[in-house]
């Protein structure tokens, strides 16, 4: 009896961990009284109020015919939102419209949890190229999004002036890696606790997103064009060289490995490699003059910037594709795109909306506009993206903490290739 007790306790405590990560019972669409009900999922955050307003406006316009309800899911700095989508996919409880981060489009499309929306999107030609590219899988369009994003180099104008550094103002003059490194070195002052540059090291999608341009600019990549193989790509010589370059910053202490969240804003770092949304945050610090310059490029290549943002797709669980498409188009009207872009001052993903925002033609926001319209590069489109993103992120962290670049990236290649094989 006692043995049984030990056995069952062990079973409960060990295997219970599996069942602890359960899921909700968010039922998908269902209709009553002839009114179509639509549900939407979006990660919780600053965008929530704007989306709530848009959904309310949609409901008023379609009173008695369609009623939409948006649910905001916490995301954290990891993959909690994606976990929830995975759980919903297994239990057939997906919403009608599903927001997803750009690189997940391939994965979701391949698994059949979102469906093609070719021909259903109004004014498709108005969307910027990178957003259409991001939403396309095997030549079919699966998702569109209202906003774009990019990563640029933000800087403290006064600090750079004092150090005699003039950051480039045009795309053609964008800094090379060496220029960037020299500047960071000059700005670092260890006695004063001053770092040349700040970059965030969280555990989610950020790492592949912000280091990607260095790799692409150097002619490297993460995976074969057709997504069939990672070995020789994510650990190829160009990719390794790009990371060796970034590693110099951490090895020499030009970057703080455990910065406070506002290190740059507080004046403890002179530059910051950050997403375009940073500009809106800097408005809370009006006493300092801020500038933006282009993402540095490899001496052997073109300037490249990362792209991609949350996009909307229609789930295969929807019962009324027409209504879902109508809502999708409503979210992406020029007015709503402008409204959503304004929240975090993100670059809008429609060129006609972009044209209305004249401040994006002036310094320093023109830098971001140039990158979005001219040098944007989407992240790789592969069904093994979760493994690639996670393992690559862990590898880069190890590299920044002193690990060997080739060794770490070899491990990534092996893990990704195992996953590709499994899915065939």
């Amino acid at each position: 009896m006692k043995k049984l007790l030990v056995l069952s306790t062990a079973a409960v405590l060990s295997l219970g961990t599996l069942s602890a990560c359960g899921n909700d019972d968010n039922a998908s669409s269902g209709s009553n009284d002839g009114e179509t009900k639509l549900t939407l999922w979006y990660p919780e955050g600053d965008m929530s109020p704007a989306y709530e307003e848009i959904i309310e406006a949609f409901n008023q316009e379609n009173d008695g015919e369609i009623e939409a309800e948006i649910e905001f899911i916490p995301r954290g700095n990891k993959y909690a939102y994606e976990d929830k989508v995975s759980a919903a996919a297994t239990s057939n409880t997906l919403p009608d419209l599903l927001a997803m981060d750009g690189p997940n489009v391939a994965n979701y499309a391949d698994a059949g949890i979102i469906q093609p929306i070719d021909g259903l999107v109004d004014n498709e030609d108005q969307f910027v190229e990178s957003i259409i590219k991001q939403g396309t899988f095997k030549d079919q369009l699966y998702a569109v999004g209202p906003t774009e994003s990019t990563v640029a180099l933000f800087y403290n104008v006064k600090m750079l002036e004092e150090a005699g550094i003039t950051p480039p103002k045009t795309l053609e003059e964008a800094w090379t890696w060496d220029d960037f490194y020299e500047a960071a070195k000059k700005l670092t002052n260890k006695e004063k606790g001053m770092y040349g540059v700040n970059w965030t090291l969280d555990y989610g999608e950020w790492i592949i997103y912000f280091t990607g341009p260095s790799v692409w600019s150097n002619g490297g990549s993460f995976i074969a064009e057709d997504g069939s193989k990672a070995d020789g790509y994510v650990n190829g010589p160009e990719t390794v060289e790009a990371l060796e370059y970034l590693k110099k910053f951490t090895d020499e202490g030009l970057v703080n490995l455990q910065p406070t969240p506002t290190e740059f804003e507080d004046g403890n770092a002179a530059m910051m490699l950050m997403g375009s949304w940073e500009w809106a945050k800097l408005k809370d610090y009006p006493d300092t003059e801020w500038g933006i310059t282009y993402y540095p490029k490899s001496p052997n290549g073109e300037q490249v910037s990362p792209s991609g943002d949350w996009a909307w797709g229609v789930s295969t669980g929807t019962e009324d594709k027409e209504a879902a498409a109508e809502l999708l188009n409503f979210i992406h009207t020029k007015e709503n795109v402008l409204k959503l872009a304004a929240v975090e001052e993100k670059p809008p993903a429609r060129s006609d909306a972009f044209e209305e925002l004249t401040e994006w033609d002036k310094e320093p926001l023109n830098v971001l506009k140039d990158q979005v319209l001219q040098t944007a590069h989407p992240r790789p489109s592969t069904t093994s993206y979760p493994v690639l993103s996670t393992k690559y992120g862990q590898a880069v962290q190890n590299i920044f903490l002193g690990g060997d670049v080739q060794e770490e990236l070899d491990k990534v290649a092996k893990e990704v290739d195992t996953d590709i094989e499994r899915k065939q």
Binding site: K2, K3, V6, L7, T9, A10, A11, V12, L13, S14, L15, G16, T17, L18, S19, C21, Y79, E82, D83, S86, A87, A89, T90, N107, Y108, A111, G112, I113, G193, Y203, N256, L257, Q258, T260, P386, V387, T390, Q394, Q397, N398, L401, G403, T418, D419, R422, K423
Partner: protein
């Protein structure tokens, strides 16, 4: 109307009081049993079945049996061996340290003075705080530049330590904060055990001229041995399940130095959506925990 028991002709044998009681017991426990079966026994059995499958979470229809493939892959996976080693290291260190600290605290707050109550509250408060919150706070404390612990070390002239950034220190840092967080719980169990030790035994020992250590060694420890056994077993099982601390504080790094079996299970199952592989990890994990508990149980009996 008058009821007469004799007048009711029954074809069935009447239930005896005992059988009635038995069925009543079953009926009362049925709701709990159904829930337990649905949410515990069934998932556990499914985990066994899935561990022999190639199962992509996003594509349940495409799952297929692959025999022992997942297990073969598992034992060739360097990360699995690292995770296993890390989990063992954590358990082997945490169980004795945490139990000893808990016993020490229990003895400390068992005194019949007023501050003892305050001490109990003080030592127990980390237990009622969510581990996620505690882990986030300790991440700040362990910060290499601005962390409180490094400030204190600096005061004593010790150089700044990398703690969570170093593959050599990260796991030890997690062990330290885990003991701090959880010892209060075991302290309470020990305290309950200490309260049961009859006062007469101490008096008798005193008459025999025993000193404090002798009293502890020959009276206290033998009297609470059953509690000690319980504490050791639950602490071991809890230690094996280490997940939140590395998930929040280090993401399993640096260089996989804080990756544990449960972390690996979560990563493969939920992030990579590889249900088959993750179930295989769960099954192996279950066997390890089971084996350790049985060994520990046997060892404690002697």
């Amino acid at each position: 109307m008058e009821k007469t028991f004799e007048a009711v002709p029954s074809t069935k044998k009447p239930m005896t009081y005992d059988t009635q009681k038995k069925w009543l017991g079953v009926a009362f426990s049925l709701p709990a049993l159904v829930l337990l079966f649905t949410f515990l026994v069934l998932p556990v059995m499914l985990a066994f079945v899935y561990s022999f499958m190639n199962y992509n979470m996003l594509n349940p229809a495409g799952k297929e049996f692959v025999g022992f493939d997942n297990y073969i892959r598992l034992f060739q996976d360097a990360i699995f061996l690292t995770s296993l080693k890390n989990t063992m290291y954590f358990t082997v260190l945490v169980v004795p340290i945490q139990s000893a600290v808990a016993l020490g605290l229990a003895l400390l707050v068992n005194k019949k003075v007023k501050v003892a109550g305050l001490g109990r509250v003080f030592f127990f408060s980390p237990v009622v705080t969510s581990m996620v919150v505690v882990a986030i706070l300790w991440t700040f404390l362990y910060n290499v530049d601005s962390g409180l612990i490094n400030h204190m070390l600096h005061f004593f002239g010790i150089e700044n330590q990398p703690f969570l950034l170093s593959p050599d220190q990260a796991m030890n840092s997690i062990i330290f904060m885990s003991v701090w967080q959880a010892a209060g719980f075991q302290m309470m169990i020990f305290l309950a055990g200490l309260k049961e030790v009859p006062e007469e035994l101490y008096e008798a020992a005193e008459v025999d001229g025993a000193n404090v250590w002798q009293k502890f060694r020959n009276v206290t420890l033998p009297s609470i041995s059953h509690v000690t056994g319980f504490v050791l077993i639950i602490t071991t099982i809890q230690a094996f399940r280490l997940f939140i601390q590395p998930y929040v504080m280090t993401n399993g790094g640096p260089s996989d130095s804080t990756k544990t079996l449960v972390f690996m299970l979560y990563e493969n199952g939920f992030q990579f959506r590889d249900v088959g592989y993750s179930s295989a990890i769960a099954v192996v994990f279950f066997l390890i925990v089971l084996l350790s508990s049985l060994i520990l149980k046997k060892a404690l009996k002697q």
